[in-house]
Amino acid sequence: MKNSDNYVYKFEYAHDNVYGHVISLIQNMNFPEAGLHLDIGCGWGAISNKVQELGEIKYIGIDASEEAVNHLIETGKEAHCYKLGKFEENIKFLESIILDRKIASISIIDILEHVLEPEELIKTAVELSKKHSAPVVISVPNFTHDDVVLKLLCNRFDETDSGLLDKTHINIFNEEKLLTICKKHGLYQIGENDVIMEKSDQHFPNELLTLAGGSSLSQVLQGLRRNMGRTGKVNQFVRSFLAGHPTDNTKNVNENRPFLSIITRTTGNRPEELKEIILCLTGQECTDFEVLVMGHNLNLEKQLIVEKVINDSPEWIRNKVKLIRVNGGNRSTPLNVGFEKAQGYYISILDDDDLVFSNWVSEFKELSQASYGKILKSVTVRQEYEPVQTTYSPKTSRAVSSFLKDYPSEYDFLTMLHHNQCPGLCLAFPRSIYHDFGLRFDENINTIEDWDFIVRASFLCGVESSNAMTSIYRWWKKGESSQSLHKQEEWQENYKYVQSKVNSQYILLPPGSAKKISDLIDSVYNRGYTHSSESPPTYSQKREVAHRLLTSNSWSITKPLRALKHLLGGDTNIPNIFTASEDQLNELITNIYNSRSWRLTKFLRRDTYSRRE
């Protein structure tokens, strides 16, 4: 036997390397245990012995390396030297060696990345698979392993003699590319057993910050990569296929995708309101949208009701609306399914009891043209509604309050960490945040699922805001709503859960945030005083500030609110400021600044109340 110590691809079989994974896949398929196993690009024949242990299997190796083939022959295996080429030539050669024997299985292990025309080889495998009903196991190295990606971010591209970035590779693969070309020629995946490597052969140098596990940068990027999909740690994709009818996915790309996908959740309990929202969509200035009505847990009766509302609408809008039934899960589930199915470049949530003005879609589109990729935000007002049913009408609804501008025009990243200021309908999310970055609505919670998603998405996308009023968030004073369906305790628990979740992660804040945080800290340290020097305010200055606070317009205006809500806390006394001690003044000033009514009336004040806001 020729000494082969210098042969680069002389790899040994191990149960946890690619060869072990290939054998395991073949073993688990329960295919005929007799016939040939064709190992195309067999190299040193690492699986040759193990294959023959699977049953009445005869191993045949094919490789371009005469040296490797001779080695196999010398060990008593059938092997043939052949350099893979065009489909017709491949088939002609393979048939000449197979003759009338039956193929039980085929393997193509780490070969596609080396051949000049990988699709010709796939076609060859399809032909043989079809003819012999034989499964094909293919493995390729994953070019999108985290190690490769995180090094590319730092302009590092380190080719090696073998491994993920073997310098002889002439094709690179990720999962999508492998599956796409296989489908294109008619190979359909039936199993998988990928080789996972937390640290691949590309995990060097250790000092590189994107690789060094302890660095914040590495943790942020690894966190993002984890959400993106399950293939970041895959070293080699090991998949089994069977031949079928070719499907050219590359030709199925929908080039007429709408700008906006509108996700409308319904449980079928509000047919009148669903009718109203479809009517509002009929009135949109910009009609570049699709509507996915997510029928959640619909029984047949409710399904028919929802279908009727959709089918009744004029043809042009009806053609834009799809009913998608979702069973099980909670309020997050239909959102996840809807986002998954959405074709639009942007996605917005419009529940079956929301209302929108004619500019709702067009404002989003206009914002996207200036700031594509950001979350788009317009303004919604709150209006209180209650159910109504007159002698002549079915159960429907009526507004019982004026428009309440409870939600700010600008998206405030810091305030959003504290509480949600954005009903879902005032936002449109780039589809990529779900489809490429893997952000999901958290199905562990049944309320404030939108807040959780918005906050996490906003850190990645940023937010572009418009002052335009585009929608009405109906707030049900009576009747069923998420407010009435869930207990206060559940809301509070979920609130803590989301805060804790956000707190456990790295957050990315936009420019301007550092100053806001600095100002917040400043106000805490200085108890709300603006000062031009480093010296702390004097006792008399504090008394003056307390006096001005207590006599300010905004404080007076909200007096009833204060009295009602005890916003200063039950124990807080309002002292006589001219006799109060310095500690009492400190406490009073701090309590006023921290009170809800002071924050709510920020817009009424000028700078003179000494707080930096």
Binding site: E272, E276, P394, R398, K405, M469
Partner: protein
Amino acid sequence: MQTGRSLHIQSVLYNNDQERITKSIKSLIRAADFAINKGVFFRISLNYGDGSSNPIFTDQEIIKLNDQYREYIDIHYTHFNSNLGSARGHNQLASSCSSDYILIINPDILMAPDTLIGLFEPFKTNSKVGIAEARQLPIEHPKFYNIKTGETSWASTACAMIPREVFELVNGFDADTFFLYCDDVDFSWRVRLKNYQVIYQPSAVVFHDKTLSNEGSWITSDAENYYSAEAGLLMAYKWSRMDVLEGILKYFENSNIDYYIKAANAFKIRKNDGKLPEQLDGDHKIGEFVNNNYGKMRFSL
């Protein structure tokens, strides 16, 4: 099932966008299709009267629309050659009507598929219904209505259905007094003077494209403010509320807002010229003036 009942839909145009009217027609077609299929109406016509100086539609365009939609409705278009205003325009359109019911609409409203069916509902069982009004979206009208009977003080003619007999009984709108605003309030109250009810139908919805300011408030133009102020004075006079009239006039005269002053002057000129309308409802049974509104409101906009 009753057969043979007919509906005459009418709308007064003034410099409207043709595309929006066409969109409105498409929604009407669907609603008409449903109403005809349900046997609510047998025949439906759509009648536009255009007060714009340049016609919005050509004859060819109307022929094309009729070719497209004849299966459901007949579309008629008249160019008025002058801006007649809302009240006179509607009277003129109604003068050629021989249908059983008249539906008055704003040219840009969009109907839900069941709106015509819903609007007809009160007439099915109650012969004393004089007007049935649709609910506007997304900005719902704030006026009060009885949540059991649907009865209300007056109906907005953004979308309201009226039996032709009732329209003729009250001689239509008071076009000599009202040009743009309050013609519908006055009309509703005169219908009620004849012992008919005005019914608000909350499930019969129409999309009426309105927008809010960035602060979330209602946006009105100076022209709207003027005609609304002028109509306010005339309403107070016509409905025999001299106390209200006096209060408004005083407020307008002392105001520094141009359209208020202009409205007060126009009222005085009309009075001097003897062109004020005949006064009605001397015992104040119908006309409701509550907090500067016509009738009670559920909330303010």
